[in-house]
């Protein structure tokens, strides 16, 4: 009979948990995901790697809702994501059943992170190979929130963050360009950030917007294309403005 008491995640002599670090490598290979928190809007944008022609793209939803007021996007092993998302959805309903109140964003983030941590300290299992971006509005105060978890089980709140492929470049961009935004401006900022590393076009990005009143709304390809066109126009105008005084001087 197989014995599941052999831990797979053990300390190295210099204090590393290599399995967790390898899991983070898996995350770094996953598709880029960006989350931006505005004052009344929170946006998740995820890179859509080119869909095979015969695949029904509607069956590959990268941004999912956990409850009416909470949504999640992730980078890394999608199969692991399914398991985590399912557990989180059950927990959202179970919490509502016992407490009679919807979960707070922090609670469900702590739950998911706790689950990820458990799998770094149990026998016979490997860590989940994904980092999540969790967004939502506090059910009582209405404050927007964005949280990130990673395979080690740590979590923290962010104004804007990225995970997955090239997340460092995206985070750099966000650190340079983040301002308090609201409504459509938040959507633009998220898409601009993602376009730093992704080929532009509605076909390559999946965007979802969460507002307190309407909950989660997935943007249509046409809407995304419109915002991308806006962004390109702004970029072109900024380029033109930079070039124009230079030529005058020469």
């Amino acid at each position: 009979m197989a014995r599941y008491d052999r831990a797979i995640t053990v300390f190295s002599p210099d204090g590393h948990l290599f399995q967790v670090e390898y899991a983070l490598e898996a995350v770094r290979k996953g598709n880029a995901a960006v989350g931006v928190r505005g004052s009344d809007t929170i946006v998740l944008a995820v890179e859509k790697k080119s869909t095979p022609k015969l695949q029904d793209s509607r069956s590959v939803r990268k941004i999912v809702n956990l409850d009416d007021h909470i949504a999640l996007a992730c980078a890394g092993l999608k199969a692991d994501a399914r398991v985590l998302i399912n557990r989180a959805r059950i927990e959202c309903q179970s919490y509502k059943l016992t407490i009679e109140d919807p979960v707070t964003v922090e609670y469900i983030t702590r739950y998911i992170a706790g689950l990820q941590q458990k799998y770094t300290q149990s026998g016979g299992v490997r860590p989940f190979g994904l980092s999540t971006l969790i967004i939502g509005f506090d059910p009582h105060t209405g404050t927007p929130a964005l949280y990130q978890t990673d395979p080690s089980g740590t979590f923290s709140a962010w104004k804007a963050n990225a995970t997955g492929r090239n997340s460092n470049s995206i985070r750099e961009f966000l650190e340079k360009n983040y301002t308090e935004t609201s409504g459509q401006e938040t959507v633009k900022l998220a898409i601009r950030a993602l376009l730093e590393v992704v080929e532009s076009g509605g076909k390559n990005i999946e965007v979802a917007v969460m507002t307190k009143e309407q909950g989660l709304r997935q943007l249509e390809e046409a809407e995304i294309d419109a915002v991308v066109a806006d962004i390109e126009a702004e970029k072109a105008a900024a380029e033109a403005a930079k070039k124009a005084p230079a030529t005058k001087e020469t």
Partner: protein, 204 residues
């Protein structure tokens, strides 16, 4: 002592329940809501042991919500009825729920439907159903006056006739009733029929 009944109309279904919460000889309150909204287009009226009623209907409601989040589409009324019956059946020979249920729902392809689910896990799809001592009067009135494809006004007229019979003929008749309706626009409260008014209290 508790009465719950329901009927199917032209493109809607109605569930009516009394609203008294009674413990032995004491009436705790007369504005108890015993008809739970399971989701946007489903109503579950329940009668029986108070704790079981709340516990079981809330459990079904949360599972209906979970299904929707997992699958992106709502459960059909038929599926919900079968799920509910299954849960009652599983618990029956260990730790039974003493709850009688009338489930009403509206599905786009099927229209309105009504299900009778009793505490020993019988399931019947029906046009009209009733539980409790009031069922003696409700079923008789419905047998006499119910027709397929009634309009909302006609159905409410019948409901009022039934309530009037229960009030006049049942020795410990509940004073107040709550009527809820479900149609293509969703499930919602339709009206109260009160003969005693409780002082309003914030919900638990």
């Amino acid at each position: 002592m508790e009465s719950v009944f329901g009927l199917v109309g032209k493109d809607f279904a109605i569930v009516v329940a009394d609203s008294s919460a009674v413990h032995s000889i004491l009436v705790h309150k007369t504005n108890e809501d015993k008809i739970m909204l399971l989701d946007s287009h489903k109503l579950m009226g329940a009668s029986g042991e108070t704790g079981d009623r709340a516990q079981f209907t809330e459990y079904v409601q949360k599972n209906v919500a979970l299904y929707q989040f997992r699958n992106g589409i709502p459960l059909t009324t038929a599926a919900t009825a079968n799920f509910t019956r299954g849960e009652l059946a599983t618990a029956l020979r260990k730790n039974p729920y003493m709850v009688n249920i009338i489930l009403a729902g509206y599905d786009k392809d099927v229209g309105p439907s009504l299900y009778f689910i009793d505490y020993i896990a019988s399931l019947h799809k029906v046009d009209k159903a009733a539980f409790g001592y009031g069922s003696y009067f409700a079923l008789s009135m419905m047998d006499r006056h119910y027709r397929r494809d009634m309009t909302v006004e006609e159905a409410i007229e019948l409901v009022d006739k039934i309530i009037s019979e229960i009030r006049s003929r049942l020795v410990v008749a509940p004073p107040n009733f709550l009527i809820k309706i479900v149609d293509k626009d969703g499930a919602r409260q339709y009206a109260w029929r009160e003969s005693i008014k409780d002082a309003p209290v914030a919900a638990a």
